[in-house]
């Protein structure tokens, strides 16, 4: 599913990358440790996390992940946004917590006809 469609379905704010990158997402991985995020990242995986620091972008960049989804309405720093743009990764900001965001995203990707966001 396209990242913009996914963001719209879960009421998340989308900060797109400056360069049109790969925005198709097939799966997600939610975690609050870097090791879990990097071990499960892939070019099809949206990384969902309660962390909020610039190393998240490094992980997304190294693994070719299309983007990050920050949870709890966390505001990314200008530095994080700049690094994400440079790396060609999108940032989604979900108003909900980690588990709720994960459930909603999984429902969207599993093709549930109605997702209540």
């Amino acid at each position: 599913m396209n990242l913009s469609d996914l963001a719209a379905k879960i009421n998340a704010r989308l900060i797109p990358p400056s360069i049109e990158g790969k925005t198709e997402v097939k799966t997600i991985h939610a975690a609050d440790t870097m090791s879990s995020l990097i071990a499960n990242a892939s070019p099809d995986t949206l990384l969902v996390t309660s962390l909020n620091n610039s190393q998240l972008i490094r992980v997304a960049e190294l693994m070719g992940a299309p983007g990050l989804c920050l949870v709890g309405g966390a505001q990314p720093s200008p530095e994080l946004i700049a690094r994400a743009r440079e790396a060609g990764a999108a940032i989604l900001i979900s108003p909900r917590g980690l588990e709720e965001t994960r459930s909603l995203l999984e429902a969207c990707l599993s093709g549930a006809s109605q997702v209540r966001a």
């Binding site: 870097m34 090791s35 990097i38 071990a39 892939s42 620091n53 190393q55 490094r58 960049e61």
Partner: protein, 521 residues
Amino acid sequence: MITMSHLIAGGDFDTAGLATRRLKEHLARVGVGAAVMRRAMIASYEAEMNVVIHARTGTLWARLDNGKLDLEVADEGPGIPDVDLALREGWSTASEKAREMGFGAGMGLPNIRRNSDLFDIETRIGRGTRIRSTIMLGEHAESTAAAEWTTLAPETAVQRCRKCLRCIFACPTGALRVHVRGPEVIPALCVGCAACVGECGSRVYGIGGGDAFRAPAPGSVLVLPHGFLSGLPVGGPDRVLTALGSLGFAEVRVLEEWTAAVRAEAHASAAVGSMQLPVITPVCPAVVALVESRFPSLIPNIGPWLSPIEAAGEEFPLRHVYLLAACPSQYAVARGASLTERLAVLSPAGLSSAVLGVLAPPEAGAHRLALRAPRGTPETAPGELRVSGARHVMRVLAAAETGSLPGVSVLDLSLCDQGCSGSPLLTADPYLSAPRELTAGEASDAAAVRRTRPYAQRAGMRLDPDMGTAIRALGRIDALAHTLPGRDCGACGAPSCALFAEDVVTGRAGSSRCPFMEETR
């Protein structure tokens, strides 16, 4: 060859990851495959972050040469007091600052080891730590991974070797030798079929690798060959399915569902004439490896789909999936396909132990997990030649190579007798574990998955990197082979006189190992 080095500043989380990013640029330039890139990035980033988190300074060196990537990260840090403890998942001494950033989960070293084909760590208290990780590339990766699984048991077990030589004759690719000191597996020739494991009565060949069995996450799917259900001597598939439910699996699917899907695609391709005939179904990764190494002219005949175990791993992107590898070759391709926390590759021994630990009495009547029935019929379709067993498969491939299979449009080959369910890792006798009850349950929706990576000829064992030297060596091998008796008796430890001649010319064996040559000397 490429080499690079990069200084890493301890405690600097702003520039952390730059060394690994530089490595990625180098690897991308030489076009390493996605699976290798992924493993390299994880191993390198985790090693780099170890320096940033724990040390004053460090250096990452990388060297790409001879089909492998060597990474080395050395630091000037406090050293690790207990390496065994540090390699355990969840153990960490990271600072509070690092933990707040999401580091320090105790998964760094385990992640590096998991993504390395070879891993080594040296540490000195107060001086620093040096981590070495080797990742095999491309064509070498799967054969190395397969050989990694077909390991020799610990030295005490190797001493049990009776030199009966059955293993060297059972191996379809001549990858085994039996020396005075014990047997040897030649990784470049091993296709991971486990024939040696099945043949050895002394259990000299061990099985390494495979993820440790742990309680599955909620909603987990287990994919296994049906032979695991029928081959365990515990009273039939129903009891095993009940036990698997007790272990926490939400669903069990049989590998035969994806095998049927691949066969159906092969028949469709053969019918429309879109492929060279006969189409070889890639249902057995060991057969694919065999074609790539011994019958390269048949590579265009292999159907362009993932093997059933790889396809099963792709089927459930949002669930935790456990794949039971019935042989080293399945382990190798499943491991190459994906290494995430959602996907684990289990060994039959590990899962058998877990099942036996929760087996309920037959009369307990506990809930039994349902199976799905593979689509199509288990019988062969018109134009299909289905063959199992290494000896027969070798003959059929030789016939296919010379165009001597008229009327055959689809070749369905398995190196194990009776297919995956007959793997020696699952059963003592392939006929005892033949699939039963496959027609029960809901019809399968498993689909074949097209593969993106092309098949390629395997280098096997190169005589010499220089073509001229290799040709001269070949001449010496031929000349020596003509002086040998041609009995293929195995007394030298090689399965044939021709392979013994090769061993002598390449320095792997001395000519005195042949008793015939000694007698006539």
